[in-house]
């Protein structure tokens, strides 16, 4: 109790001091009100560290290199404003087959991952949301727990599980699932799971599954179950009620979850690097190599700009649903 009252006294003293300071500086007080500080600080931070960098990437992707420096895109010489744009990198991206194939294959892997996450995650979230109310916090905690353990280490763990004599590798071979995977062209040979499309997609599904489950659960847990009773009273079979009521009502969760999986998967680097192979082309790795191996910063920037163009529509959809979900809660 004394601790609380001490705290309250300190609090009162501080606020008195702050008030006195503001009384001495009325002009600052008007400007420096809570609202402009609360909005201003994070806003300026994001403009400087999120927005500005994209503009610079855009600039560098069309810049020519002059020794170690990038030439300015806009130059003023003899009162002549000159705009020099080098489109060479973009021309190269559109003409070189490798880039096109890689973009396409990144989107393919991201889409397959998203569909699999939805197929596993939707029933999972549904059963979570319909479990006993007392058990739900624990179930939710268990889904979030992997977030608190290293993502890198969990991906690395799959390397051990899928390598020769790994637990999962042995299990799959014992169940003769490798025959089916080989027939589908997902693994290079029988009993070889690593560095294949199979290991890549498995790793991505594993990593991104919680991102699918959480928004779906949030959505399904809020659903008014009386709607289903009403549907049953009106003669709907459980399946019809599920299809016509539950699924449409969880549309926002499906979209949010799918975007949370799809967009980062397109540019994923760590998982393809650790679990993928030469067969699994991913654009994140290409960007990485352009930057770190070839030291070609303008080319890496151009690859990034095209990647942003590819994900800009999903990004806008995600932002809209995210904003809507946040407004609706009130």
């Amino acid at each position: 109790m004394t601790a609380t009252s001490n705290l309250a006294m300190a609090e009162a003293a501080t606020s008195a001091r702050v008030a006195a300071w503001f009384e001495r500086h009325p002009r600052l007080a008007r400007w420096f009100n809570g609202r402009s500080v609360v909005i201003g600080i994070p806003y300026l931070w994001l403009l400087a560290f999120f927005m500005l960098p994209f503009l610079i990437v855009l600039k560098i992707s069309v810049s020519e290199i002059d020794g170690v420096r990038f030439k300015d895109v806009l130059t003023l010489r003899d009162n002549l404003l000159q705009l020099t744009i080098k489109l060479g990198n973009y021309v190269f991206i559109t003409q070189d087959d490798l880039y096109f194939t890689t973009y396409l294959s990144s989107i393919k892997y991201a889409a397959v991952t998203t569909v699999l996450c939805l197929a596993i995650g939707y029933p999972f979230a549904y059963f979570m949301a319909r479990a006993k109310a007392t058990r739900q916090p624990a179930l939710l905690m268990l889904v979030m727990l992997p977030f608190w353990t290293s993502f890198l280490l969990r991906v690395y763990a799959w390397k051990a599980l899928l390598s020769e004599h790994g637990w999962i590798a042995d299990l799959l071979s014992a169940l003769r699932i490798d025959h089916a995977l080989l027939a589908a062209g997902l693994i290079p040979a029988l009993d070889r799971y690593m560095n294949s499309p199979f290991s890549l997609v498995l790793g991505m599904v594993y990593t991104y599954l919680p991102f699918m489950i959480l928004p779906l659960y949030g959505n399904l847990a809020k659903m008014d179950l009386r709607l289903l009773e009403a549907a049953a009273d009106l003669g709907a079979t459980p399946f019809v009620a599920f299809w016509k009521i539950t699924v449409p009502l969880s549309k926002a969760g499906i979209i949010a979850g799918s975007m949370l999986v799809f967009i980062p998967c397109v540019g994923e680097f760590v998982i393809p690097e650790l679990l993928g192979g030469p067969q699994t082309l991913m654009i994140g790795r290409v960007l990485w190599d352009e930057f770190f191996s070839n030291n070609d910063w303008p080319m890496a920037s151009a690859v990034a700009v095209v990647m942003i163009l590819l994900i800009i529509v999903p990004l806008a959809v995600f932002n809209r649903y995210q904003a809507q979900a946040q407004e609706v809660r009130r």
């Binding site: 609360v38 280490l153 969990r154 051990a160 004599h165």
Partner: protein
């Protein structure tokens, strides 16, 4: 289960639901269990059991690269978590309390985008900006500070979403009551709002701490010579193949995280009980 809610016969339904959940949790936790299990493996072949041993743990303190990386990551993670919670609280507060201000759409877009934006894009663009700044102003040198900027950008997005969700669920009448009783806005925030969102702030701190401790891509772009974080060390070893030292460090982080989470939830439960008691006392006194 009342009629109309279940797809099939009730008992089959329940069994199916339980089986699906169990399989899902097994999928999520199996790799973590495997990591810890193989960290006690005596064999140098990381996934072939050769008897129980603590040799990989014993070897860790002598692993200078790993120890230095760990200490550096720890420092960055603490600063990232603190900064993210402060910025995230401000941004979450701005989005919930001020329904209308100039550029709000852009603001909420910029807050949400880092959640999904591929990290290679964030890392590359942030680096190129910092390099441009450095070429004109001379600072910042690539290193701890630049890594911190990157982690803060990511951490802030996560912290904002968490704070925002929590603030939206709060009963606004409590804050209104404090205002009616004459509290200044910052007093309302410090004495009413803050105590109610402490739990969220704590989980946001832990989450952003983990994000930072774990990040490979941003750190790789933003680090300079001499600032190799632990994930970069782990990643460079994992790229080459299986490495038992990685298992040992993994098991240790799992242990630390579990202790942290258990301690945090115990502390929160105690604080919650104390608050409930205070409230009850206040209700009696009133």
């Amino acid at each position: 289960m009342s009629r109309g809610r279940s797809l099939f016969d009730a008992s089959f339904n329940r069994a199916f639901a339980r089986g699906w959940l169990a399989a899902g949790y097994l999928f999520l936790f199996l790799p973590i269990v495997a990591l810890v299990f193989y960290s006690f493996n005596a064999s140098p072949v990381a996934n072939q059991w050769g008897g129980f041993s603590l040799r990989w743990y014993a070897a860790l303190p002598a692993d200078r690269e790993m120890v230095e990386g760990f200490l550096l990551s720890l420092r960055i993670a603490v600063f990232t978590a603190c900064g993210s919670v402060v910025l995230g609280t401000l941004a979450g507060f701005a989005l919930v309390k001020y329904r209308r201000f100039r550029g709000r759409t852009l603001f909420s877009g910029m807050v949400n985008a880092p959640l999904v934006m591929p990290e290679v894009i964030i890392g590359l663009s942030l680096l190129l900006m910092l390099v441009s700044v450095q070429r004109t102003v001379g600072v910042p040198e690539r290193g701890v500070l630049t890594i911190w900027f990157g982690h803060l950008l990511l951490g802030m997005a996560y912290a904002t979403v968490m704070v925002q969700a929590r603030l939206q669920d709060l009963n606004p009448q409590l804050e209104e009551a404090a205002m009616d009783l004459g509290a200044r806005p910052w007093q309302v925030f410090a004495l009413v709002t803050l105590p109610m969102i402490t739990q969220t702030l704590l989980s946001a701190w832990l989450l952003t701490f983990t994000l930072s401790l774990d990040d490979v891509v941003l750190s790789a772009f933003l680090s300079g010579p001499g600032s190799t974080t632990m994930p970069l060390v782990i990643f460079s070893r994992a790229r080459l193949g299986l490495n038992p030292s990685v298992n040992a460090i993994a098991a240790l982080t799992v242990l630390v995280v579990s202790i942290g989470i258990i301690a945090a939830s115990l502390a929160l439960a105690r604080a919650e009980r104390r608050r409930a008691r205070d409230m009850a006392a206040a209700a009696r006194a009133g």
